[in-house]
């Protein structure tokens, strides 16, 4: 498990990237997907995920779609076109950041 402190700045990037790769997803699905990808090392807490989703939606990076399934209502998120651009930029920015961190911390990244 990684420390939530480390995750804090990358949450939006993760959400954007996951959505970019998988298209339409709902909140729970995103947590599960991230858990799977990180082999359980990264657990998105709901308390962080939902505010982030709403923030991204408000910023116009995400679209939502509401589907009624039985008694429940499921809200799907997709990237808008500015969202797609952002996803790309943020990932690139993050790779850049890791490389910089590599030099700062004097560790070799493969």
């Amino acid at each position: 498990m990684h420390s939530p402190e480390l995750l804090k700045g990358t949450l939006q990037t993760i959400v954007l990237k996951v959505l970019k790769d998988h298209g339409k997803m709902y909140g729970y699905e995103i947590t599960q997907r991230v858990k799977e990808l990180s082999s359980g090392h990264i657990l998105l807490t709901e308390g962080a995920l939902y505010p982030a989703l709403h923030k991204l939606e408000a910023d116009g990076l995400l679209n939502t779609e509401v589907v009624s399934i039985g008694k429940r209502i499921r809200k799907y998120y997709t990237l808008t076109s500015p969202g797609k651009v952002q996803a790309k930029e943020r990932v690139a920015e993050f790779v850049d950041f890791i490389q910089t961190m590599g030099s700062v911390l004097q560790v070799k990244l493969n």
Partner: protein, 904 residues
């Protein structure tokens, strides 16, 4: 993966609610998330309740959940797309409450539609003559004269003014005269059929003063020469369908050929005159060599130079009158006339100016071209429009605040979660705007559909100006205003709830707390009752004037028009028809006691009084009507004293007059007027002033009972009947049941005697009714809008009552189980609203009384609008209100208490 059962999901929803997850758009999402988590946990073999606990733990239990909700709220509050959010919320709220939304939208839409219609009407009325480019510099000259008991306010001036003004006042750029001689017969010289057209004599400067775009011809030269004529596009198409009207001829009154020199675009509807033809006044002998006090009274328009001050010009008129009018008066009156004496006897002569744009709404003088509008009605209708809109807005406010109880919890949670008061105000305002917007769209549709009906009522041709950008601007402005008006109070009211109280469930605010709400309902009904009183009062006055004893019998009289066409067959026409047993009497005359027929006012005085300045007070302006022997009999008038004209006295036709009672009084002839004599001039000098050598006297042989021959706004004027031929109409009194047969007979004979002219007729009672068309229009418009106001007010009341009943379901259930009867519960529920209507009645009566008194002062003959009218109006309002809420009350009272108590 295990599917959750319905019960499980219900459990989760309830539990999350209980834990305080209520945020729109967030709540559903969390429920789904939790469900998905639980499903997965159950998939790995856990029991439901354990799976649920585990999922919640991953959120951080209740605290974590609420923290997340709070964060989401904060995210939302901070971001720019809040508006979209508000908007969505508003929409959802409206959809969720279909009943109240429908009532709100319906009421508001009808209110706005009424308002738009009236505003279109007002705009139309205010825009009269604005199409003239120089409208702000054009003024009409009016004359007021007070001379003995002759008192006149004219929209006219003597023909000579035209030249004298131009010579004396350099600030006048141009003048234009219009002289209306009534409709004239027109035909092409090569055709036989002739038609009456609206025609007027005009100066060639007409086109320089007024903005009348020409389609053909040259504005500078048109009408410069005698016997030329400018015609409207419609006329050009009618008489010259082959095109190119200019240069062709029209024969007027069968004798003068006029050359068409110009074709102008039809005058817009909002012009104070609508002539189809202007004929050149140049060389018209009647317009020349006239004195200022004699003949040739015409409408004179001045075009002032840029920057000229009309008030300064008006200030110069007294000196002008001294210089020009004075000598002419002295000449006419002879003796040692001077202006000082003239004035010291209370006489006066004055000129003043009316700005062109004020003519339609502010001018009601003798000699206007058309019946003008009235600024009072513009104000009145604007007020009504505003009232209706306010009534509709009040509905919105009342329903919003009344339903506040059901939304109080939402407000409380939002506040606890960090919503600021401004956020809530914004959200509720958005709701009000969404609703207003929908109402406006609906209102436009209503306006579009109902405008033809209104046009029919008001005799206008209004249209919705969909093509004008300013219209849309006005709409947007209106939406904003109405949205704020309707939404502001409820917004602040709702937003000001204290979360502590609300969440403790301390809020009974919804049902009671209603001082503001009650006052608003009272206000609605004050307006409604006022409008009902207005409607009844106008109806009563209308009924009064139409059924008052009018001094003649208007029923069963047929009037044959254009009798002049019978020429010398006219007597034979009458005599032959009188052979018919269904026709009991007939008379040949141009003068009938309905407006639109001939009139002939002149100045008379008791014989022996010489009409010099010394005795001018004895001069009386009196109508002199030329009638035949059978006039009084045919029209069913009553001779009060003396006798009617008779064939036994041949001298009647030269020496006798029959006066009405009003004339006897005016001339102060005393209780026995018979045998007394009145004098008057019978001829004018060439300049139009009366010829002192032409004085003639008549002996009073009878007095006819006063009869109404003008609108009852006016007093019955002095009138004398002369036994003399005037051939405007032939009127017949006929027996009932034979109307069609009589008509056929008359028409057959007409066709025999005047084959080339169409037969036109009317009935006296219908013509009499037409004199009150304005009142009838006012009455029906008033009735329609009063009806609308009541409907909207009741719509609101209906919803309010429904809400109260809903709120008190439990109370009613308990009362019923304790033995209350249905009646007592209906009474309990309706009592509150009944009280409000009664208060409204008490408040509106004085206002309505004042309004009615003010309106009816305008009539010389008034119906009595007694207390009963006000009681009736109050009664109507009360009954309608009780019927409206009655349905809801009865429904609530009939409910099975077992059911209502079990609910929740």
């Amino acid at each position: 993966m295990a599917e959750l059962t319905k019960d499980h999901i219900d459990y989760i929803i309830k539990d999350l609610h209980y834990r305080g997850i209520v945020l729109e758009g967030f709540e559903d999402e969390i429920i789904d998330h939790v469900c998905a988590g639980v499903e997965e946990a159950m998939g790995s073999g856990k029991k439901f309740i354990d799976a649920y606990e585990a999922t919640l733990r991953s959120f951080g239990n209740t605290d974590g959940l609420l923290e997340t909700q709070k964060k989401v709220i904060q995210v939302r509050t901070k971001t720019t797309s809040m508006f979209k959010n508000y908007f969505l919320l508003a929409l959802r709220n409206h959809i969720r409450n279909k009943f109240y939304t429908t009532i709100n939208v319906a009421g508001l839409a009808v209110g706005i539609a009424s308002c738009i219609v009236i505003m279109l009407f007002v705009k139309h009325e205010l825009g009269y003559d604005n199409f003239n480019d120089k409208a702000d510099r054009i003024y009409r000259v009016n004359t007021a004269l007070h001379f003995g008991s002759v008192q006149k306010r004219l929209a006219l001036g003597g023909a000579q003014l035209n030249d004298l003004f131009r010579q004396n006042y350099p600030e006048i750029e141009s003048t234009a005269r219009l002289w209306d001689w009534g409709p004239r017969y027109v035909r092409r010289p090569e055709h036989n059929e002739r038609v009456q057209e609206k025609m007027v004599w005009a100066d060639s400067t007409l086109f320089a003063v007024f903005t009348l775009p020409l389609v053909e011809g040259d504005a500078r030269t048109a009408l410069k020469e005698p016997n030329t004529i400018a015609i409207s596009q419609t006329m050009a198409a009618k008489y010259f369908p082959e095109g190119n009207a200019v240069g062709k001829s029209l024969l007027i009154d069968d004798n003068v050929n006029h050359r068409v020199t110009a074709v102008f675009k039809d005058l817009p509807e909002n012009s104070h005159f609508h002539f189809d033809m202007f004929r050149s006044i140049v060389e018209l002998p009647e317009s020349k060599n006239m004195s200022l006090i004699g003949g040739g009274w015409m409408n004179i328009y001045l075009l002032l130079r840029e920057g000229a001050d009309p008030q300064q010009l008006e200030a110069k008129f007294p000196a002008f009158i001294e210089k020009y009018v004075g000598p002419q008066l002295a000449d006419a009156l002879q003796g040692d006339f001077n202006m000082e004496k003239f004035k010291s006897q209370g006489n006066s002569w004055s000129y003043w100016l009316t700005p062109l744009r004020d003519i339609h709404l502010h001018s009601d003088l003798e000699g206007e071209f058309e019946a003008n509008g009235n600024i009072t009605y513009v104000y009145l209708f604007s007020a009504i429009a505003l009232f209706i809109l306010i009534v509709a807005c009040i509905n919105f406010m009342n329903l919003s605040t009344a339903r506040s109880a059901s939304r109080a919890r939402e407000v409380g949670i939002r506040k606890v979660m960090g919503s600021l008061r401004t956020h809530l105000v914004r959200q509720f305002l958005t709701e009000s705007f969404v609703l207003t917007f929908i109402s406006f769209v609906l209102a436009l549709a209503i306006v579009w559909l109902s405008l033809p009906v209104f046009n029919g009522l008001a005799l206008k041709t209004l249209s919705v100006p969909f093509d004008q950008p300013s219209f849309y601007l006005a709409l947007v402005a209106a939406i904003v205003t109405v949205g704020f008006l309707a939404g502001l109070y409820p917004s602040f009211f709702l937003a000001s709830f204290k979360p502590v109280n609300v969440l403790k469930g301390k809020l009974a605010l919804g049902t009671k707390s209603g001082i503001v709400r009650s006052s608003l309902v009272v206000f609605q009904f004050v307006i409604s009752i006022f409008l009902i009183v207005g409607t009844i009062a106008i109806q009563k006055q209308l009924h009064y004037v139409q059924h008052k004893k009018i001094g003649f019998q208007k029923d069963q009289v047929i009037i044959v028009h254009r009798a002049g066409f019978l020429k010398n067959h006219i007597q034979a026409f009458k005599d032959e028809l009188l052979q018919n047993t269904s026709i009991t009497a007939g008379t040949i005359t141009g003068y009938l006691p309905v407006t639109g027929t001939w009139r002939n006012a002149n100045t008379y005085w008791p014989e022996g009084k010489i009409p010099t300045h010394e005795d001018v007070k004895d001069m009386v302006s009196m109508e002199g009507w030329f009638v035949d022997n059978d006039y009084v009999k045919t029209l069913g008038m009553t001779i009060k004293q003396g006798r009617d004209f008779s064939r036994e006295f041949p001298s009647d036709s030269t020496e006798a007059i029959v006066l009405n009672e009003s004339a006897v009084e005016k001339f102060e002839l005393g209780p026995n007027p018979l045998g007394k004599k009145l004098s008057s001039f019978t001829a004018n000098r060439p300049d139009g002033s009366p010829d002192p050598n032409s004085i003639k006297s008549w002996t009073v042989i009878g007095v006819v009972e006063d009869f109404h021959f003008a609108n009852m706004r006016e007093n019955i004027a002095p009138l004398a009947l002369f036994l003399q031929r005037s051939d405007g109409y032939v009127a017949f009194r006929f027996k009932s049941k034979s109307t069609q047969a009589v008509l056929d007979k008359i028409e057959t004979l007409w066709k025999k005697l005047a084959p080339e002219n169409a037969f036109e007729y009317s009935f006296l009672d219908e013509d009499y009714g037409k004199m009150y068309d304005t009142e009838k229009r006012l009455a029906s418009i008033f009735a329609v809008f009063a009806g609308l106001a009541i409907v909207i007010a009741c719509l609101g009341l209906f919803a309010l009552a429904a809400f109260t009943a809903e709120q008190r379901t439990k109370e009613i259930g308990i009362r019923k189980t304790l033995g209350a009867s249905v009646n007592s519960i209906v009474f309990l529920l309706s009592r509150e609203y009944g009280k409000l209507v009664l208060i409204a009645f008490a408040l509106s009566t004085p206002v309505a009384w004042y309004g009615v008194q003010w309106w009816i002062q305008g009539y010389s003959y008034r119906a009595t609008i007694g207390l009963s009218v006000y009681m009736l109006a109050g009664g109507i309002a009360l009954v309608i209100a009780l019927l409206t809420i009655g349905y809801q009350c009865v429904r609530a009272a009939m409910m099975n208490p077992a059911k209502s108590l079990r609910s929740e």
